[in-house]
Symmetry: C2
DNA sequence: CAAATATAGGACTAAAAAGTCTTTTATGCA
DNA sequence: TGCATAAAAGACTTTTTAGTCCTATATTTG
């Protein structure tokens, strides 16, 4: 459904978000240890999220990744959009380039329910909601 | 959402299905011309679908691909399962290996609605239903 | 049986996604 | 100012997915 980049990115963000609650920046090593994601690869993804203004970062001692925005204001949709783009929320289920909302393929409207359900789940959940419970269940904290 | 293999496969099957209504087998060239899929690649996919008993084939003059089953008895789900496997219908939205129905991540149940909607659309639609209208709209027939 | 036709199979190449490694740049602190 | 630390950047490698091409095999028909 989502790319690895996107999965890793979301998981990394939960770690950054949790640390943010203690007003703490997190380094890439700590992030990847907890989120169980490959380090160099995750670093690339986070670099990207910095460029796209989802998170911020600071170099040097006591540096690391952190949120300057409120976690309630960032939805999972925002993150997926930033990493994977909009395709998953809009593309024809059968991959027909001829198919769109104006000239739908016979399957289009049925798939619309899947797409809109996906959009609903992603846009109704903020990163804050994602990391609640996530920490307990996945990282056992 | 689905792989190219899967998209091409489904499109090819609509051509085979339509020809079947005139009791006609179709060769790979005709299939790919109509379905607008790459020929050699599509041939591989169809070979696979023959092995998996979705379609049948016959070599030699007047040979080609055809259905021996009733198109009403083959769902889109069957085809997706044969080509892409079950992952898309079962896998955790966030790609967590620790997450499953018994020990769900906080997101699992919300994603469940997406997965089950996808399953519903795929299993409630037979290939027969897929190619109805498909032909008119996509192939202008 | 020979020739023509069409799928099957196997060995490729190409492109995209995933992942690594090394060097550079920015920051804090002694 | 200089050293340690941590992210940024860039050039890689690896793996997976997509796609091609050539040869073998099966089938029909003259």
């Amino acid at each position: 459904m989502f790319s690895k980049r996107c999965e890793y990115g979301l998981r990394a963000l939960t770690v950054i978000g949790e640390a943010g609650k203690e007003d703490r920046k997190v380094g890439i090593k700590e992030i990847c240890n907890l989120a169980k994601t490959p380090e160099s690869f995750t670093a690339k993804i986070l670099q990207d999220l910095v460029r796209r203004n989802i998170i911020d970062s600071l170099k040097g001692p006591n540096g690391g990744f952190y949120f300057s925005k409120n976690l309630d204001d960032i939805s999972i949709y925002d993150v997926v959009l930033a990493i994977d783009g909009e395709e998953i929320f809009t593309k024809c289920g059968l991959g027909l380039s001829e198919c769109n909302a104006k000239k739908p393929c016979p399957f289009h409207n049925q798939f619309e329910t899947v797409r809109s359900e996906l959009f609903k789940v992603c846009s109704n959940n903020s990163l804050n909601e994602l990391l609640e419970g996530f920490y307990k269940q996945v990282y056992n904290r």
